[in-house]
């Protein structure tokens, strides 16, 4: 009996310790975010003088001022970000799913080699191709337009999404394709009428990541977009900080940064439902 009590006490102690450690780690990780949100409601001078204090009042000045700080308002920056992200998502979904369908289902010469080569590009860091890409787009006269950020997405350059979709397509029973062949479908119709509708989970996953990565992208827009009227949100946020040693507008920066998280949350929540529905659909399939 005593041994039993002891072991129960140890168990409780271990539980408490575990919760303490996990709680501490969580606070550690979420603290920068909390700090940013809290600071967005404080006047500039209080941000660094008392970094841990909760805001005494919800002062929205930074939000209004931040929105209109620059020559162009954040309306423009959000529009730019959304335009680029929208086309990137559409381009990625279309091009990657078509490529993935080809790899998963069609017979063509050198399919395996092309697939391995495609996967090989996953290991190529973005920065390696940056300079040649820049030169290419410069020669095309595309620098200072959205084209370098959008057009490549329509050419299935994202091997990760292709790989993801190939794996998903391979999981769809081949007999369904064959039934469609007997029903008179060619590859295009099978892709469009059978494969795509059955692939909502993987499409939603690709859409979420595609959106977040494009929306969050800093390096791409930094390199290709020079004119403030074409800035995306991350570029505009960077403009709040004066790197030449002058005054930086931290209150406005934090306010706009907080606001910039909202679209990501919305997209995630909206598409997450699709993922769950897709998974449920998959479960019904034998």
């Amino acid at each position: 009996m005593k041994a039993l009590n002891e072991s129960r006490a140890t168990k409780v102690r271990r539980q408490v310790l575990r919760h303490f450690v996990l709680g501490f780690a969580s606070i550690l990780m979420i603290y920068p975010l909390l700090w940013m949100v809290m600071s967005s409601f404080k006047p500039d001078e209080l941000i660094f003088s008392d970094p841990t204090a909760l805001p005494t009042s919800f002062d929205l000045t930074s939000y209004f001022q931040g929105w209109f700080t620059f020559r162009e308002s954040f309306t423009t920056f959000y529009m730019n970000s959304f335009i680029i992200a929208f086309f990137a998502v559409v381009g990625n979904l279309m091009a990657c799913s078509m490529t993935a369908y080809a790899f998963a289902r069609l017979e063509f010469r050198g399919r395996k080699i092309w697939f391995v080569l495609m996967l090989g590009t996953l290991m190529l860091p973005y920065h390696v191709t940056l300079v040649p890409q820049y030169v290419l787009f410069l020669k095309l006269g595309w620098v200072n337009t959205f084209l370098p950020l959008i057009v490549p997405k329509f050419l299935a350059v994202d091997a990760f999404f292709i790989f993801l979709m190939v794996q998903f397509f391979r999981g769809i029973p081949r007999e369904i394709d064959e039934a469609a062949i007997m029903d008179g479908c060619g590859p295009w119709r099978i892709y469009w009428k059978i494969m795509l509708p059955l692939s909502t989970p993987v499409m939603a996953t690709a859409a979420i990541f595609s959106f977040i990565w494009t929306y969050d992208d800093f390096l791409g827009p930094l390199i290709y977009l020079n004119d403030m009227s074409q800035y995306t949100v991350p570029l505009a946020l960077r403009a709040f900080v004066d790197s030449s040693g002058g005054e930086s507008l931290y209150g406005e920066l934090f306010a706009m940064s907080t606001l910039s998280l909202v679209p990501v949350f919305i997209v995630f929540l909206a598409f997450q439902r699709l993922i769950i529905r897709g998974v449920a659909l998959g479960a019904l399939k034998r």
Partner: protein, 361 residues
Amino acid sequence: MAELELQNVIKEFGGLRVIHGIDLKVEDGEFVVFVGPSGCGKSTLLRMIAGLEEISGGDVLIDGAVVNEMPAAKRELAMVFQSYALYPHMSVRKNLAFGLETMKVPKAEIEQKVQEAADILQINELLERKPGQLSGGQRQRVAIGRAIVREPQIFLFDEPLSNLDAELRMQMRVEINRLHRRLGATMIFVTHDQVEAMTLADKIVVLRKGLIEQVGTPLELYNTPANVFVAGFLGSPRMNFLPGTITSVSGTTATIELEGGHSLTTEIPNPPAQGEVVTLGIRPESLVPVPEAEAVLSGEVQIAEQLGGETYVYVALPHGGTVTVEIKGQARVEAGDRLFLGFEGGKFHIFGADEKVIRHA
């Protein structure tokens, strides 16, 4: 409706030959069953007819025209798959209509054909459901419906009943039979289940290792199997095989000594030479209990299965091996009993050393 002909059809997968030159003729309106153990090539053969598998050699003809290079959809065939292969994201109605929509059939006509098929298969109340909401039997019906709406020349069934439970399988078997009578269409049905083959077929094609072993009506194959394989494959319980040796031959009369010492004398049209090894095949229902003096075989009962209508008795022979005996009614036999057995009315087959039949029952 149409005739189908296979002329020396060959299939190779990367140099490995799996179908070794098959010749077969399927008449208009016939129900043909391809049967054989797994890996015998029956599904491959069906898929070649369907156009889902390329033909490595020989010709497939539909109504006299070679269709080797014709795409599957143009062959006017419909196929029912083992896994049903319904489109999971479409309602039953849409599943049925999809093929017709692809063929650009007018909407009103599609609607009418879907309705007809639904009536035939009694799936009217399921039309708005998704395949995921259907039971196995209902899915099977929808899969058959999808074939019916296209009014194909030939129906192809690839083990359509193997995913169903025993009772449903029997029920669907009857329905497919009824459907065949009603539509009068040519049907080719692949199965590994000899009961399905026996009950459904006008003509059974027994396949093994990519070759046809025998073609014939169910009873022809049952009564006059061409070789040990066919004899053993069709019929349940399985035919008993007893090894023996020819001890004497005079004209067409031969005496065979079975393992265990019993001998029997019988007519064989072209008897093998003295000393040759033969196999005697006898169906369980032709083995009958007899008085000890008339016995050809004797042994100890291992298990007696009482099925009510009949009794299956498994008898261990003294020299190894077991024979199955089917006794009509409820026989009073128990494990451990000694049973003396004779051949009813000379109903046994004899197979030569090459396993080909040399005497029919």
